[in-house]
Symmetry: C2
Subunit: 216 residues, 2 copies
């Protein structure tokens, strides 16, 4: 094992370690057979990517960001959680409906999965497994499944309007982290633009459970 660690590139070892951490995270069901099949197809995804000008260069830019972000997820989440905590309109969705206060255990459980989401987004696998997990994430924000994963008593839903909106704070605050490891200004710009498209794409997929039958 010592030899294995010595000869594997640092990134590959990081990926193996990250995968073990993912599987140990409560509620992180990416790839689980229990997940429902997404109500949108890979062809729908391809059409949406076209409308978003999302191309092969964006996939490469996202994957370039994976190695840059891998050891920064905690610092990124500190910034994101700071923003949510200081915005009453958002922190309410983490509120315990009995105490009226934010639920620390709920915040922490979501935070662990959020760290994996950063790397999932950067890894940019757009296959059926990924699509099905996007649907699950959407359900968990909506009244269909919110609170159930973590067994909490909180608001019935995250209101639709905030889901696409969060594209902006997430990608704006990410930008300095993309620049932390010496990438050129042009590459930081490419990675940032790819992140904006990918997060907006996901926010659209997550919105499906909120949209009236036949209108998505």
């Amino acid at each position: 094992m010592q030899l294995l660690q010595a000869i594997l590139p640092r990134l590959s070892f990081g990926v193996v370690a990250a995968e073990a951490a993912r599987q140990a995270t409560p509620g992180y069901n990416y790839g689980h057979a229990t997940l429902a099949r997404a109500p949108y197809s890979l062809a729908d995804l391809a059409a949406l990517q076209k409308a978003l000008l999302f191309g092969d260069d964006d996939v490469l830019a996202l994957r370039q960001s994976a190695a840059i972000l891998a050891d920064q997820t905690d610092a990124i989440l500190d910034v994101w959680y700071g923003f949510v905590a200081s915005t009453p309109e958002l922190v309410v969705f983490f509120g315990n409906t009995r105490t009226g206060e934010p639920d620390p255990a709920y915040l922490e459980a979501v935070r662990k999965r959020f760290a994996h989401w950063i790397l999932d987004t950067a890894e940019a696998r757009y296959d059926q497994t990924w699509l099905d997990y996007q649907y699950e994430i959407g359900l968990r924000h909506s009244k269909f499944k919110k609170n159930r994963t973590d067994g909490v008593q909180s608001t019935a839903q995250v209101n639709f309007r905030y889901i696409p909106a969060l594209t902006i704070p997430i990608t704006t605050t990410l930008r300095p982290f993309l620049a932390q490891k010496g990438a050129s200004a042009n590459d930081v710009e490419r990675m940032h633009a790819a992140w904006v498209k990918s997060v907006l794409l996901q926010a659209i997929l997550w919105s499906q459970p909120y949209v009236r039958e036949g209108e998505f």
Copy 2:
């Protein structure tokens, strides 16, 4: 009047001319008393702007873009219409359901209002009148009012998913036009970021008619 023209700054004269053109455009009902009141309030708007990190500097940046874009709207629309025409997934929403072909009169009628929309967005007035018109625009994309303004036979709706998605092509293709009049790279970046936020904000408001009761 000659004296008046001489002493008024060019921009003010442009605004007066633009206002006359707006009022002469069929279906451009901004500020009309016939419009329904938006189902979201100015307080809802302020909360959404906060979640989008949309601040006073974005308002200034949008207004800076107004003078830059004022005489470029036709060229911008050539690019946008070129993108729609070359994307079957989008041009279908301009299709005549009897012929199966894009309807040139429909495309042209929307284009005239689209030019005003560019300047409306750049002028960044976020009042009740603006809010009510955003609601009207949303209705006109959805099955509630699509085709009615122009008396056309076309698809029943623009599917929800494409509304937030269009934030990207609109703002990506706008960027070179923001740089056309000698603004600094930093100002172009500020204006572009403000446009992304504003278009996404509008796309969220336009989505309201698609979202299930009580979930917006």
